[in-house]
Symmetry: C2
DNA sequence: CCTCTCTCGATACAGTGTATTGATTTATAC
DNA sequence: GTATAAATCAATACACTGTATCGAGAGAGG
């Protein structure tokens, strides 16, 4: 096991050559621009290097592997999450969750990467630190509950954002607007329902209120926060 | 837009050639075996075909694209989720969640795929149907709450399982046992804490109780279910 | 038996991440 | 200021990937 296996501790190499000074930050930014524009699949080392007028192998001085680049992208995205604000602990948690969701909606690749591997970058840790201090300063001081609450919230956001983005992408891929999407999958579902195998779902699709994505997100968040509160006895 | 764009409606081709009768099921099973053994990255059309003593192009008669194969794998995994059991609606929801988690721990690739794109296969729908009927039959009949509860639960499980499996894999990749893992990342975290930038996390790491993965999962689940209950006024 | 349709395997293409290597540039020592 | 050592880069190469294309061959229908 080497001494500094994690990219966060590996010192960034200093540039000696003149033309096109490179840096980890420039590389990550280029990768993010690519991912924003054409999706995560468009992020290849060749294309990132090309966007920086460099050969592909040049990047390997700054990054050991492509996964490391993705990890750096995730940390950069975490840095965009606004600092949590709120007077009560649940308001703080809510602002954290919606902040992450906001970033994920701006950078859909972030949602794809979230939770895919452990992230321990400085911005991610700073984000955790901010969440923790905000929580402690607003009255939640049972450590067991804090642990569980943060974990549950984290995990809820990961899943919610991932699913929401996945649906958005599928919708976009199958034609352009929402009407076309509904026309593409609705008939399929209707045929499935016509088999009679899914009576409860059929009824539910008919009668259930059609909620917007952000409403669903907020609703689940409310459940979770309410559950945490009630387990506090507060 | 073609008439049957979804693989679930495309009829399975019938075999005419004698040697090595193929079928969607055999292909999916081979892919699952590969993924179980060597991870999702080991699932390539060439390898799957090789495992079936066939040329790679042969699979394209049964599957239009690799994504379709992955979708079929997900549906097959959903079919392994045991039917929910329980007397009360929250017991039912809990059994659903732990059932999915169990499958994901047996098939880690399932966790990687979960939520990555919309899944509407028959087993997935059947699973939704079972959840719905179980819910309705145990007293939860407000449709708005049912919708929100199912969505929130679904999303929680997706995120929780994804994160848990990601951590497990990272742990396994960095040496073999848990002690080695802690020895690999703990020093890094300590050095980060030594900067003084993360006092709350430092304290928290010291004092917080160390929970097992399944305890964390159950705890978050409890919060969520409790929140749903309290929003029912029951 | 001939024909026609369907299916298969081979080949090919554009792309991927990355190991290797030889040249070229830079820093260091005298 | 020059010789030497070290560092860095671009090119090449490798083993893959998913999949389009297409010629050959097998099965069925007449």
């Amino acid at each position: 096991m080497t001494d500094s296996p994690l990219i966060w501790e590996r010192p960034e190499p200093t540039e000696r050559r003149r033309p096109s000074p490179l840096s980890r930050e420039r590389i990550v930014r280029a990768a993010i621009d690519l991912a924003d524009a054409d999706g995560l699949d468009a992020v290849s080392l060749r294309k990132v290097a090309g966007a920086l007028d460099a050969g592909p192998m040049r990047l390997y001085r700054y990054v050991d592997t492509k996964d490391e680049l993705l990890t750096l992208m995730v940390d950069a995205a975490y840095a965009e999450v606004p600092a949590p604000a709120g007077a009560t602990w649940d308001a703080v948690l809510r602002s954290i969750a919606t902040g992450i969701r906001g970033v994920a909606l701006r950078h859909e690749w972030f949602a794809e990467l979230l939770g895919g591997r452990p992230h321990l970058g400085p911005a991610t840790l700073a984000h955790g630190e901010a969440s923790l201090t905000a929580l402690r300063s607003t009255g939640l001081d049972d450590l067991g509950t804090v642990t569980g609450a943060l974990a549950a919230l984290n995990v809820y956001v990961i899943g919610a954002v991932r699913k929401e983005v996945a649906e958005r992408r599928a919708q976009r891929a199958s034609g352009l607007d929402q009407r076309q999407w509904q026309h593409a999958t609705a008939p399929y579902l209707l045929r499935m329902f016509a088999t009679g195998d899914y009576p409860a779902m059929e009824e539910w699709v008919h009668d259930a209120p059609h909620l917007q994505a952000d409403e669903v997100f907020e609703l689940g968040l409310t459940y979770l926060l309410e559950g945490i509160r009630s387990s506090l006895g507060t």
